[in-house]
């Protein structure tokens, strides 16, 4: 049984599947439904953690990503203050922040793929594009957007 061990080779289709379903068998190359042993399950978990680390090392330092994390962090600080100190203002801020985060427009996977394809000028399937390529394209597109 062979596994995808790098985001440079893992097709974005399977990365997205894992994020949507949590099913780590998507990391098995050419998987056709055979039995996954406990040992293999353990291996898959470790691989997935490593892939996340790879992802963070490549894209985690980007400002937009850091901002998101900081926003989430602040949201939880307010939530906790609201409960710990019974601070109504903190509760109000937390609710407002949550609302803001929920209302933020997010593109779904298929739309993002379509945008990338249009940008590339050719058709590429999600099974052909690696995870690294996908996020690099997104980074470049968003950078272009913010510059233009």
């Amino acid at each position: 049984m062979k596994f995808y061990k790098s985001i440079d080779e893992l097709p974005i289709y399977y990365w997205n599947q894992i994020k949507e379903t949590g099913d780590l068998s998507n990391l098995i190359v050419n998987y056709n439904g055979e039995q996954v042993t406990k040992y293999q399950q353990h291996q898959l978990k470790q691989i997935y953690e490593d892939l996340n680390k790879q992802f963070f090392d490549k894209f985690g330092k980007q400002d937009s990503y850091q901002e998101q994390i900081q926003e989430l962090s602040q949201l939880y600080i307010w939530k906790i203050e609201g409960v710990l100190d019974n601070n109504p203002a903190a509760k109000i801020y937390a609710r407002a922040e949550e609302k803001k985060m929920q209302s933020r427009e997010t593109l779904n996977f298929d739309t993002t793929m379509a945008i990338i394809q249009r940008k590339l000028g050719f058709y590429v399937t999600a099974k052909q594009m690696t995870t690294t390529d996908y996020f690099t394209h997104i980074y470049l597109i968003s950078k272009e957007g913010s510059n233009g």
Binding site: Q66, Y76, I77, I80, P88
Partner: protein, 959 residues
């Protein structure tokens, strides 16, 4: 005597204790959970605050942290909700327990009352009069219940009402016949109707009744008064189209008038509402109110009716203003004194004629004088007013004054015709009357122009009665409550000094006398200083505004938090809990201060320079003159305040006097209570005596009973001893005879044995012999001997019975001795039987040593506590089943079975029994057998005292 019922027997104090304990335990656990979760959240918060997001491991920790935070928040919310629920539950349980206890207390108290009443009745301490009085009370209570449940006009209610009236009248008649009128005078409830609970509260406060429960009523009533007053003020504000803050002047005037007049503050507010509805402004209402109150009392009218009339008059006459209200009222009051007019007549007449009078330039005094004169002549108000209106209109039409026309009529010979000619038939009669009374009318008019203070005087006169005093007291009480509520102190001070016991109550209520607004005002100065320092500390106005905005934001947050706490912690009954009250008041104070601070900050933010300037001006308020040299209005205000204070002190002094009068009145009531207490003492004395007498009689009875018992015992003991002696002697004699018989039989048996041996030898030699005969005779002798032994045993039993009988009789219960002795003998016989054969109870365990001691080969299983009965014993009880036997034994033990042997209860019976014994002894044949040396059988028989001797020779019988 029954055991005394104690509180412990009745109140199950711990009925809810365990549940409450469990709930408290649960609460503890919840507190633990809350503490742990809070600690966890605090740690997460710390992590999040220092979280940089630079490493993947950080990110992992972050993910874990927020997941845990979500979980903790969820748990915490749940635990806190649960805590609230459990606290409410504990509270409810404690309240339930309290209710339960109160219910039982009430039941016990009712029961005691009923027992006391029954005891009184039994001891004859309740007279017919008292019984009838009690019945009247019961009937009244029943009537009230029925009236409420079935209606006052229901058949049963009517019947009860009839009974009540009849009985009440009957008792009043009896009272009156001996010069007692308590049924009316002492009926304080009706006398003090106007005061209701107020008097009860005051009585309690002065210690005359001493009921602590009234304290709670006082608080409740105080709050009802305050609430109603506030509600009415809200209505007034609504009618005037103002806020409650904007009608403060009217509110405080209502409080003032409520305190110093016979009308309550609430009634005064209702009067203000009536004027507001008539379209008068606030200042006009202030002018009108006091006069109207006096007028209402003087004219004996309702406040709103008086307001309508006075208002209408002032509105109608051009020369009258609201400040003339007192004059108007004085005039109208005087008119009712100096003429046949009354309020109703004025109320009817003035609206009809006032408009025309004003148009004709006729002043109110003249109009009232005219109406008064017509009323004196018996003309009804409506007709006279209509007639006067026509007179005024017609006069104006003719370009003359009504006086000139009246003069003309007066001078004519036929006044009625002249009047008819002048004013038409509808006004003719009135005009002719007025024409006849021109002089008197003028005099009355003049008199009505000099009536200042009439209404006040009349009002004072009317209130100088018991009812009036009570009304004033009621009103004063309400004024006191409202003054405490508003923070106006003199009355509360006066009462405080007089009523020490209510100090606590006043303390509580005083806590309530400041609103958050007032707190804000109180701290306005210090807040302004604080704001000034913020502005002063800034480098420029931009920085000042920023600092002010920061302070504003911070204050707003604090306000939200404090309000939230206040909402959570305040409850309806907080006023009963001084600690909570103080705490909540502190929160309320904070709210006031924060609100004020926000207000000041907002003002400062809008224009910091102007704010500073205003503040500077305000600090010069203590200077006697302004910079322009004019008197400082602030100082003037202070003077007014001093004046007000003086007035208040005067009012306080006045009330102290009234209070002293009230105290005297209450002391009288106290004296009546003392009388009642004396009566109660007398009753207790009687009760005590009755109990003592009863006790002595009881002791005498017991002593006599004891004597009788001792005599009886002695006599029976003697009888039993006699029987015993006779029996012992008889049995001894019989036993001696039996012994002799037994010896003879033994001898015979021995002889027979010798004979048998001899006959056996003869038989062995083949000679003739009587072996068979000898053997038969020996057997007979043995049977006879056994029979004798049995007889002797029976006699022993009889003797044992009498010995026991005598012994029990000596122990002190001759009546029970016979049965007891018999039972003992029977038991002894049975026991003896058991030990001889059969098996007693196998006991509680299988270690009993008589296991397997049966006389035959049967092996039976016997369970714990069971027993076996021997064959002969079984026969003795007639083969009864175990069930039947145990049932019989149970019935015997319970005294349900009459023993077959009659109890020896009297001398006659003893003698009879004794005769029977003697007879049985005498009719029993005595039989003695012996052999002489020749071997002949000698039988001696004594039957019925006759001795027969029978000698049987060998081979034949001879007598």
């Amino acid at each position: 005597m029954a055991k005394k019922v104690t509180r412990k027997d009745v109140f199950e104090n711990d009925i809810f204790t365990q549940v409450i304990k469990d709930a408290k335990e649960f609460d503890k656990v919840l507190k633990g959970i809350v503490k742990t979760e809070k600690q966890s959240l605090a740690e997460t918060k710390k992590f999040l605050q220092s979280f940089s997001g630079n490493s993947f491991s950080d990110l992992q920790k972050f993910n874990k942290g927020i997941k845990e935070a979500d979980l903790s928040i969820k748990t915490l919310n749940k635990a806190e909700k649960e805590q609230i629920r459990i606290k409410q539950r504990i509270k409810q349980l404690q309240s339930d327990q309290g209710k339960q206890n109160e219910l039982l207390k009430l039941q016990l108290s009712e029961q005691r009352k009923a027992i006391k009443q029954t005891a009184k009745e039994r001891l004859g301490l309740v007279s017919v009069y008292q019984k009838e009085s009690a019945r009247l009370n019961d009937l009244r209570k029943k009537y009230k219940d029925i009236a409420l449940t079935q209606g006052e006009n229901s058949k049963q209610a009517k019947r009860l009402r009839g009974e009540v009236t009849k009985l009440d009248a009957k008792l009043k008649k009896v009272d009156a016949s001996v010069g007692q009128f308590q049924r009316n005078v002492g009926n304080y409830k009706s006398a003090f109707k106007g005061l209701g609970g107020v008097v009860r509260s005051t009585l309690s406060a002065f210690g005359f009744v001493g009921g602590i429960y009234v304290f709670a009523n006082a608080i409740r009533e105080a709050f009802t008064t305050i609430r109603n007053f506030q509600k009415e003020n809200a209505v007034l504000a609504g009618v005037l189209g103002k806020t409650r803050a904007e009608i403060k002047g009217l509110t405080s005037d209502a409080r003032r008038l409520g305190s110093i007049t016979a009308k309550t503050s609430s009634e005064v507010t209702q009067l203000q509402i009536a004027y507001a509805r008539l379209g008068f402004s606030q200042s006009e209402i202030l002018d009108l109110t006091e006069g109207t109150i006096n007028g209402s009392i003087a004219l004996n009218a309702e406040l709103d009716q008086t307001a309508n009339l006075v208002g209408a008059v002032i509105r109608t006459f051009d020369d009258l203003e609201t400040s003339d209200a007192t004059n108007v009222v004085d005039l109208l009051s005087a008119a009712t004194q100096k003429s046949a007019l009354n309020f109703t007549k004025l109320e009817t007449a003035l609206p009809i004629v006032a408009g025309a009078a004003n148009a004709a330039g006729i002043p109110l005094s003249s109009l009232t004088a005219l109406l008064g004169k017509l009323s004196d002549s018996g003309i009804d108000a409506s007709s006279s007013a209509t007639a006067l209106r026509n007179i005024f209109i017609e006069s104006a039409k003719q370009g003359l004054s009504y006086e000139e026309i009246l003069d003309k009529i007066s001078n004519s010979t036929d006044q009625l015709t002249a009047a008819n000619d002048e004013f038409g038939k509808r006004a003719a009669v009135s005009a002719s009357i007025l024409a006849k009374n021109i002089k008197e009318t003028k005099e009355l008019d003049l008199a009505l122009q000099d009536v200042a203070g009439t209404s006040q005087r009349l009002a004072d006169e009317q209130l100088d009665t018991l009812d009036g005093s009570i009304l004033k007291l009621s009103s004063a009480y309400e004024g006191f409550i409202l003054s405490v509520e508003s923070g106006e102190g003199p009355i509360s001070n006066a009462i405080n000094s007089a009523i020490k016991g209510v100090t606590t109550l006043l303390g509580y209520i005083t806590q309530l006398n400041k609103t958050s607004d007032e707190f804000g005002q109180q701290y306005e100065g210090s807040i302004s200083k604080e704001v000034t320092s913020i502005i002063g500390g800034a480098k420029n106005s931009e920085e000042a505004i920023k600092s002010l905005n920061d302070a504003l934001f911070e204050t707003q947050i604090k306000l939200i938090k404090t309000q939230e706490r206040l909402n959570q912690e305040s409850g309806f009954f907080d006023f009963l809990n001084p600690a909570k009250l103080t705490k909540n008041k502190a929160l309320e104070q904070s709210v006031g201060v924060f609100e004020k601070k926000i207000e000041i900050l907002k003002t400062a933010i809008s224009d910091p320079d102007a704010f500073l300037n205003n503040l500077e001006q305000a600090t010069t308020k203590n200077d006697p003159t302004t910079p322009t040299g004019e008197p400082n209005p602030n100082i003037q205000r202070t003077d007014v305040q001093i004046e007000n204070l003086k007035t208040r002190q005067e009012i306080a002094e006045k009330y102290r006097e009234e209070l002293n009068i009230t105290i005297d009145a209450l002391k009288q009531i106290g004296a009546i209570s003392d009388e009642a207490a004396k009566e109660e003492e007398k009753y207790q004395e009687k009760l005590k005596k009755a109990i003592e007498t009863n006790k002595a009689a009881e002791e005498e009875l017991i002593r006599k009973d004891k004597e009788r018992f001792e005599e009886n015992k002695k006599r029976q003991q003697e009888q039993i001893q006699g029987i015993k002696n006779i029996t012992t002697t008889t049995i001894d004699a019989l036993n001696r005879r039996s012994e002799a018989q037994k010896t003879a039989l033994d001898q015979e048996i021995a002889d027979r044995e010798q004979n048998i041996t001899r006959q056996q030898e003869l038989a062995a030699q083949g000679l003739d012999n009587s072996l068979a005969f000898e053997q038969q005779k020996k057997a007979q002798a043995e049977v006879e001997r056994e029979r004798l032994a049995e007889k002797q045993q029976r006699r022993e039993k009889i003797l044992a019975y009498f010995n026991l009988l005598a012994s029990y009789a000596e122990q002190g219960n001759p009546d029970g001795a016979a049965s007891k002795a018999l039972a003992q003998v029977a038991i002894a016989e049975t026991v003896a039987g058991f030990f001889a054969e059969g098996t007693e109870s196998v006991g509680d365990n299988n270690t009993t040593k008589w296991r397997n001691t049966g006389t035959d080969d049967y092996i039976v299983a016997v369970d714990k506590g069971e027993r076996i009965i021997a064959a002969d014993q079984n026969k003795l009880i007639g083969d009864l089943t175990n069930k039947e036997l145990s049932k019989l034994a149970y019935q015997y033990n319970q005294g349900l079975l009459q023993p077959k042997v009659q109890m020896i209860n009297s001398n006659g019976e003893v003698v009879s029994q004794l005769k029977q014994v003697n007879q049985s002894l005498s009719i029993t044949p005595s039989y003695q057998v012996n052999w002489d040396r020749q071997g002949n059988l000698i039988e001696t028989e004594i039957r019925k005292g006759i001795k027969r001797v029978k000698r049987t020779l060998k081979g034949r019988t001879r007598i």
